[in-house]
């Protein structure tokens, strides 16, 4: 998967495009307002995506404690409502905490470093291949075996419709 441009750059690009290429030609106040709302939502996504999974995990783990503590605070209160609260605490409240997801920027950076290493390997292997070292052919095959399924998966993920929009 590309890490540059990443998701944030696409969203930022949409905001610029609405501003530079769409808004100037919109002729009704309603359409202009909708475009501004779209920009606001895109900016909201930019701010949300990097922290989204982390916040969900953080909130999930916090809720485990809340469910248990709320039940404990009831003490020996009686009645079906109190019983259901204690049941939730004894059931859902005892689930294992979720592991913290890696930080988005850290993943992108680490991915980038290793990806570049494969590119550098290809350059060095070409020198060996041109010198007639057939073991370099085998090493290149290892790299290609990594990239083949990766390209197939990436294409299946990013494809929208068919062909280039804006051409005949």
């Amino acid at each position: 998967m590309y890490n540059s441009p990443d998701v944030d750059q696409y969203l930022e690009g949409l905001i610029f495009a609405i501003n530079d290429e769409i808004l100037p030609v919109l002729s009704t106040a309603k359409a202009q307002t909708t475009a501004l709302m779209m920009q606001a939502v895109l900016q909201q996504l930019r701010q949300t995506i990097p922290v989204y999974l982390g916040y969900l995990v953080d909130e999930h783990n916090a809720m485990l404690e809340v469910v248990r503590e709320a039940a404990a605070a009831l003490g020996d209160a009686a009645g079906p409502e109190a019983d259901r609260i204690r049941e939730r605490a004894a059931g859902l409240g005892t689930a294992a905490p979720l592991p913290a997801p890696p930080v988005y920027g850290d993943v992108v950076a680490a991915h980038r470093v290793l990806g570049q290493a494969l590119v550098d390997d290809a350059r060095d292997l070409d020198v060996l291949q041109r010198a007639g070292d057939t073991r370099a052919d085998a090493a290149l095959a290892v790299l290609r075996a990594h990239w083949g399924p990766r390209y197939a998966r990436d294409l299946a993920t990013v494809t929208v419709g068919s062909g280039f929009l804006g051409r005949g």
Binding site: M1, Y2, N3, S4, P5, Q9, Y10, G13, L14, F16, A17, D20, E21, R112, G115, Q116, L118, V119, A122, R123, D126, Q129, R130, L140, A141, L143, R144, A145, W147, G148, P149, Y151, A152, D154, L155, V158, T159, V160, S162, G163, F164, L165, G166, R167, G168
Partner: protein, 349 residues
Amino acid sequence: MEQALAEFLRRHHPDAESITVAAFEPIPGGFSRETYRFDAVVCGPAGEQRRPYILRKDPPAAAAILHTSRKLEHELLESLRANTAVPVSQSFGYELDPAVFGEPAMVIERMPGSGRTSDLFNEGPDADQVDDVIRHLCELLAELHRADVSAVDPHGGLADPRGVGVDASSWERYIETTLEYYLNGYDGIGYDPEMFVFLDAMQTLRRTPPRPLPLTIVHGDFNPANFLYANGRVTALIDWENARIGDPREDLGWMLTMDALSNTSVLAHPRDEGGFLAYYNKLTGFEVTPEELAWFSMFATINVAVPVASAVGRRVRREHNQFLHLYMVAPSSGALIGFAQMLGYPGAA
């Protein structure tokens, strides 16, 4: 802009009493030039005439996809009109001073015919014309590739139109120096390691050259969107900005790539001749093989990918804000897997 166009056209209508530009509007599509259509109403001794034109303008330098000269494109169009039967627009000249149109530009005749070439395919409204249109398209390509290079390009401007050190003095030098240009350009297009397969392809092509053929004029962007048609005939080949001296198989190879990326099937026609490649071989005698087609598909695709991906790289590095360049990343992914398949990557099928 309209006033500048009217002044420009006065060069070609010195007797006109007045020239008025009307119906000026941008044409969507065509990724490398800003293109506009307009009519000029020319009033002169012979009365009033309304004529169709196209303005082709360079984009801002940072956003430019292909750095070639409108002067050279003008000279090529006029030379093709004079020396071949390939239908191309008449060019009415160029203006390299950006003060006039904002960027260097040229004005050409707006040719008749439909540019909605996707209508020919996938049971589109003009699918009944596809065999005839593509037959004619193949004949025109063969004519272009058999044209006298010295007549069409007498000053050698098409030998290295990008000015990147390509040496077209022989087929061997052409291939060698073009691959050097590609490999030197990889750093500019490798804005993401995902571009790995392009580097692998460049290096593999250098290790496995095909047999030589005579160098010819090549269109350079011969793809399913770059012709107009009407009544079963091609009315114009368009977008000559990447034309150059090259191997004729480059045009076939680029069509192979773009046929796949465009969801069209140019190369499957004309069916009664066994498809485009078989008919082309019959017309030219070049005996291009499917293996050579695959080699040149990669070679020609990289020729376009180097400037395109460089422009995308400049967008990624925030040197400009054009949205088009971000858009192109995902549809271009089809080229990555196409290359992976041609290079035999396991799991890429």
